[in-house]
């Protein structure tokens, strides 16, 4: 029998709200939440990061859009999404009406600073979500990583969005830079409230029979267990140079993986590709973190965050 009084507290106060679980579903792997509602109890985890939303609907890339890779998968969906108007009229009301405890961050994407700003300004007055995750790191559309790899452009974007909203503003970083830390610091200086580390790595698979890329777009983003160490490193690096809460992403399939991110400095984590293998992966990750804390006599999750000893400079 577990003594309820001895159960560790996985809740944290972040972004001005109580977040009951550190585990979220990652953008692009959970649709707009509804798709998973029959499969897992969304209120048993921290919440979700939605599929990207752009001003206009996007058609996305030709197939194949996904393929398995050693230790993961490659995808090039191309930010297919319903667009701002339909997100507000159809997707957001469902989230508002069906989630009790789980928090929602809307992943926002644009081609220009203005497009990002129009999405944020359009969403801001509506209910049903907590904040934004700004996607400056999609490797699968032309210019998708532009804002994530150009220091000046990133600073301009984040400053502009900061002026548009008082809601939590999280920037999803790309690993495709020499030093993630530089971009983490820019986000903090420009007024961001948090960092998601990291998006997918660019990759390619070749169909050796047809001598063509397997993925219709040519290249794609690699996710899954193969990128776990890179995600942990990016999380650690972002935490080293900024005081913002970091949300660790990349290759988390169970509690022990998430615990690596938490020790390296993540306050929250996102489970992505693993949900495709087992829709229950995020809930199991939450339970796995809880079991770790219990086993190590840690009563509060926040006592674990950023407790890495040693570590390279």
């Amino acid at each position: 029998m577990t003594d309820p009084a001895r159960r560790p507290d996985l809740g944290q106060r972040l972004f001005g709200v109580d977040i009951p679980s550190p585990v979220f579903l990652a953008s692009g792997t959970c649709g707009y939440g509804r798709e998973y509602a029959d499969l897992i109890p969304l209120d048993d985890i921290g919440g979700i990061f939605t599929k990207a939303v752009s001003v206009e609907p996007r058609r996305g890339n030709p197939p194949h859009r996904v393929a398995e890779t050693p230790g993961g998968m490659i995808n090039a969906i191309g930010l297919e999404n319903v667009g701002l108007e339909r997100f507000i009229s159809v997707k957001l009301p469902w989230l508002r009406d069906h989630l009790r405890r789980a928090h929602v961050f809307v992943n926002v994407v644009g081609r220009t600073v203005d497009e990002y700003a129009r999405v944020v300004a359009g969403l801001d007055p509506h209910e049903g979500f907590l904040g934004y995750e700004i996607n400056v790191s999609c490797p699968n559309v032309e210019g998708g990583t532009l804002f994530g790899t150009d220091e000046g452009a990133l600073a301009e974007l984040v400053s502009r969005l900061r002026a548009e909203t008082g809601r939590p503003l999280i920037v999803k970083l790309t690993p495709n830079v020499a030093d993630v830390g530089v971009f983490a610091r820019i986000c903090e200086e420009a007024g961001a409230d948090g960092l998601s580390a990291i998006n997918t790595f660019p990759g390619m698979l070749v169909d050796i029979h047809r001598r063509r890329p397997v993925i219709g777009h040519g290249s794609g983003g690699v996710s899954g267990p193969a990128i776990l160490p890179m995600g942990v490193y990016a999380t650690w690096r972002a935490r080293q140079v900024s005081s913002l809460p970091v949300i660790g992403i990349g290759g988390i399939v169970r509690g022990e993986d998430a615990v690596q991110y938490l020790i390296a400095g993540a306050s929250l984590v996102q489970v992505g590709t693993a949900s495709f293998v087992d829709p229950g992966a995020a809930v199991d990750t939450h339970l796995g973190i809880e079991a770790y804390l219990t086993r190590h006599g840690i009563t509060r999750l926040s006592d674990l965050v950023g407790t890495l000893e040693g570590g390279a400079p």
């Binding site: 692009g28 792997t29 959970c30 649709g31 798709e35 998973y36 499969l39 599929k51 058609r59 996305g60 030709p62 197939p63 194949h64 859009r65 996904v66 393929a67 398995e68 050693p70 230790g71 993961g72 998968m73 995808n75 969906i77 297919e80 899954g224 267990p225 193969a226 399939v253 169970r254 693993a274 949900s275 495709f276 293998v277 087992d278 829709p279 992966a281 199991d284």
Partner: protein, 250 residues
């Protein structure tokens, strides 16, 4: 689960999964994988058409042919092993009771038609099952097929080593008015779509595309729609009227 070899590199898998079997209809599919704790291998689940249902004990049958790493891993499943099944998923075939049907299968596209033929037995309409393979070695165990489907197939092989030599489309009858159903490689489906259009025939096809999740979240499994949209095979299909799809782009 249980497994048996039924052709070269081809297995017939049966799983006890009463919750999925109960509501399953021909044309629907299941995401079949080994879960996150499978030793030594990372494996996204793969979509499989439901090939058969034993109503009395909640078993489902699937036809598996080894094409790559995923199917090879699944082919190693042994008696009593467990797997992770998510389903039944997707849009099933529509079948009007009493109507004559012609099912045209290429390779492992045979799978959903075993289920459809078995379910059609009680409907009263006539049924033809046209089944094409590359050669005799690839042909599904015929006595087992007849036992499961309740129909003997009209067999075609491209090299003539079993059944009638040539492509399975040679068996199509322009004079027939039966409803057409197709499942198999895209060139076969394209040829069927052209035949159906030329002869004013109703055709439903079950399509295949790389899938990530099977439930519409990853948007990975799109096929080109006649209206210019990319259509998700998992939740809007995998069964489509042939007129819903664009065939030139495929």
């Amino acid at each position: 689960m249980s497994t048996r070899a039924v052709a070269r590199d081809t297995w017939w898998l049966e799983f006890d999964c009463p919750d999925i079997a109960r509501g399953a209809r021909p044309g629907q599919f299941v995401m079949l994988g080994l879960g996150l704790d499978a030793p030594g291998t990372w494996l996204l689940p793969r979509p499989f058409s439901i090939g058969w249902r034993c109503g009395s004990d909640g078993r489902l049958g699937f036809l598996l042919r080894v094409f790559g790493i995923g199917t090879r891993a699944l082919a190693r499943l042994d008696e009593g092993d467990e797997a992770l099944l998510l389903g039944p998923l997707g849009r099933p075939f529509e079948v009007d009771p009493g109507r004559d049907v012609e099912l045209v299968a290429g390779g492992v596209g045979l799978a959903p038609f075993i289920f459809l033929a078995a379910e059609h037995r009680s409907s009263g309409g006539a049924l033809r099952l046209l089944y094409g393979e590359r050669d005799a070695g690839a042909v599904f165990d015929l006595p087992l097929l007849e036992e499961l489907a309740g129909h003997a197939p009209e067999l075609y092989t491209e090299d003539g080593s079993a059944g009638t030599g040539g492509l399975v489309t040679a068996g199509l009858d322009p004079a027939s008015r039966a409803s057409l159903y197709g499942c198999g490689p895209t060139p076969l489906l394209r040829a069927l779509a052209a035949f159906a259009a030329a002869h004013g025939r109703d055709l439903q096809v079950s399509v295949e595309e790389h899938m990530g999740c099977g439930i519409g979240t990853c948007q990975g499994c799109v096929v080109p729609g006649a209206d210019g949209r990319w259509i998700k095979a998992c939740v809007e299909g995998p069964v489509f009227r042939s007129t819903e799809l664009a065939w030139g782009d495929r």
